[in-house]
């Protein structure tokens, strides 16, 4: 009985190995479908909710929706966002808090999406760009509001 089992083990081993080799042999001879992405040549279409970096939306008149309320700064778990505010003088002589610079540290960001959820005016959103590599770390500290931009009318 031992000998029968022994031969059976050898037979099973050899056939299962041959089965595996037939699979890879099939792949080798049928070289059409490529499962890897040809990345720099062909760029992948990313899912809608992919989180690449935080950006501030500006319209064509260079206006953004950020009121400088610092809700995002408070929501951020690792101090990625730093908001510097200023006081604008409204036409009727009142002082009003407004956004001066929206500093965003990409090198600290974990893409947790909490700032976007916290924003009451939908001023910021997640972009799909992911090629963030730079030679100098300081380039990763970004100012999100464009120069000369101002608050959109009607956003409080």
């Amino acid at each position: 009985m031992f000998l029968v089992d022994y031969i059976k083990t050898v037979y099973n081993g050899v056939t299962s190995l041959l089965k595996g080799m037939r699979m890879t042999g099939y792949y080798f001879t049928h070289h059409k479908e490529i499962i890897t992405q040809q990345y720099p040549d062909v760029k992948q279409v990313l899912p809608e909710r992919f989180r690449g970096e935080v950006v501030m939306t500006h319209d064509e008149k260079n206006e953004h929706r950020c009121t400088g309320c610092t809700a995002c700064e408070l929501a951020c778990p690792n101090a990625t966002i730093k908001i510097v505010t200023k006081f604008d003088i409204t036409p009727d002589g009142k002082k009003k808090k407004a956004l001066d610079t929206f500093v965003y540290h990409l090198e600290l960001c974990t893409m947790c999406n909490l700032c976007i959820v916290a924003c009451p005016t939908d001023a910021i959103k997640m972009a799909q760009s992911f090629e963030h590599s730079v030679y100098d770390r300081s380039l990763l500290t970004k100012v999100l509001n464009k120069p000369g931009s101002k608050l959109m009318e009607g956003v409080e």
């Binding site: 050898v10 190995l17 595996g20 080799m21 699979m23 890879t24 042999g25 792949y27 080798f28 070289h31 479908e33 490529i34 499962i35 890897t36 040809q38």
Partner: protein, 362 residues
């Protein structure tokens, strides 16, 4: 038949007429040495590229395709990178042995090249114990690996080297028995006689069942002996980072890498010589009608092509193994050798002897 015998004889005569015998001998050695080193460099470049492309195709990838036409210059670029890199020696390593080990491995690979016949008349050293020499010298390479592992002063390296030692010592037996099975048929250990005995058919066909079993055992054993997957216990990446060459970098690492591929070439060349007739074209027995015509037609293809074709087909087979099978655990590895390959090999030797005595082979 196409032969390089004339060319080698002309060179030999020219040298012997110009210089005295000793100097002519020395010059010939230098020429052969340069040829061997060139062959090694070319083999390294070709085989690494082939491995990467084969692995890519088997895993439904593209493989190297950036440097040069279709990535052909990739390995040359890699070599350039390795030459430029710093050759680092760890502080507490045994510096002499650490630096010696890669060269030792390389020298042994070169020594193995000596009795291999590339075509009729193109053989460095046709000694009468060729096969014995091959199996004896190939087992010395474990010393180089042990030396590298010991001298690195690194636990990964040492464990990798010890595993490699256990593995090579065990699988030497099976490889030796498999070769011995074929020696029963050929009746000679000399490479040229072994090839000449396959004039009317290769041994894999003439020796039928025992030859095929012996070939399977041999190819498994040499895969283990060259430390390749599924037997790459010595450099199991997931367990031992890189095994015995963890601490090596730059050109010294490249020498280990090159030695691995040259060893694959050599064991495949041995298998091609013993089982598939080396440079001997595909001949059939004279008892079959039109055999002479067929054999003459086959002779038009030069022996070098036959030899490289067979060798590269076997190299492809070994690469196929690597990219299909998962790695064995060390106990499974030794089980396979001592419980399966060795008993089957011994039984096969007995069978081959009986068949040879009774004359039941073609």
């Amino acid at each position: 038949m196409f032969s390089l015998e004339n060319l080698t004889h002309i060179i030999d005569h020219a040298l012997n007429n110009t210089f005295n015998a000793t100097i002519a001998m020395l010059i010939e050695m230098v020429i052969v040495g340069i040829c061997a080193i060139t062959l090694f460099a070319v083999l390294g470049l070709v085989l690494v590229f082939m491995e990467r492309k084969v692995s890519a195709y088997m895993q439904i990838r593209l493989g190297p395709n950036r440097v040069g036409y279709k990535g052909l210059a990739q390995t040359a670029a890699d070599t350039l990178k390795l030459v430029i890199k710093e050759g680092f020696t760890p502080d507490n390593a045994d510096k002499f042995l650490f630096n010696l080990a890669p060269f030792l491995v390389m020298i042994i690979a070169m020594m193995l090249l000596a009795p291999i016949a590339f075509t009729k008349g193109l053989q460095m050293w046709d000694l009468n114990i060729g096969v014995l020499y091959l199996s004896a010298v190939s087992s010395v390479s474990v010393i180089g690996i042990l030396m590298a592992g010991w001298a690195s002063n690194n636990k990964y390296s040492l464990i990798g080297a010890m595993r490699s030692g256990a593995q090579i010592v065990s699988y030497e037996l099976s490889a030796g028995l498999a070769v011995l099975t074929m020696i029963v048929f050929t009746g000679s250990l000399q490479i040229s006689t072994i090839i000449a005995s396959q004039q009317d058919g290769w041994w894999i066909f003439k020796g039928h069942i025992p030859a095929i079993i012996s070939f399977v055992i041999f190819i498994i054993a040499v895969t283990a002996e060259t430390n390749r997957a599924p037997f790459d216990m010595a450099e199991a990446e997931s367990e031992l980072t890189a095994g015995f060459h963890t601490e090596y970098s730059g050109m010294r690492f490249a020498l280990f890498f090159l030695a691995e591929y040259v060893n694959i070439f050599i064991v495949c060349a041995i298998a091609a010589t013993i089982y598939f007739g080396g440079w001997m074209p595909f001949h059939i027995s004279h008892s079959i009608p039109f055999a002479d015509l067929f054999n003459k037609g086959m002779d038009f293809i030069p022996g070098v092509l036959w030899f490289t074709g067979k060798t590269f087909a076997l190299i492809f087979l070994i690469m196929w193994f690597r990219w299909t099978f998962p790695r064995l655990r060390i106990d499974q590895l030794l089980n396979l050798e001592w419980k399966y390959l060795l008993p089957i090999g011994m039984f096969n030797l007995l069978l081959a002897t009986a068949i040879a005595i009774l004359g039941w082979y073609f």
